[in-house]
Symmetry: C2
Subunit: 80 residues, 2 copies
């Protein structure tokens, strides 16, 4: 299901955003419990550059819409 | 103190981001419990346009750095 697939795909996000989606780095946002639609819009904006962020562009570029939907579903599902 | 001042200044944010910082609109992010430094960086990016968003630019433009710091402290203080 989306959330399980999203969790697997989110392993590379945990380094900055925390294993449970609560970041330990003040510059990086908590993602746990964030709105799924907002999350998807931001990842697509990082991917196409409309939200300029060189770090996130690298992570977002290889992701498909399905990857993004699943990762978003995973983080939205986390208690915060 | 920063949080009380921030709460007063965040009244205009509640319409989209919710009275307790949990948005009821899927396109708009939850703000409750978000990292203060991340929040300040994003509001300044909306203010100077480096994060392009016509809606948020309107809200951010009139804010001083102190306003932003206080609003950020308020939302960071909210349980989420």
């Amino acid at each position: 299901d989306d959330i399980a697939e999203g969790k697997a795909k989110a392993q590379s996000c945990a380094a900055c955003h925390g294993k449970e989606g609560i970041s330990s780095i003040p510059m990086y946002p908590n993602l746990a419990g964030q709105k799924q639609m907002y999350f998807e819009m931001q990842m697509k904006a990082f991917r196409d550059g409309s939200r300029p962020n060189p770090i996130m562009a690298n992570f977002a570029k290889p992701l498909t819409d399905e990857d993004i939907r699943q990762i978003a579903a995973y983080y939205a599902s986390l208690k915060h």
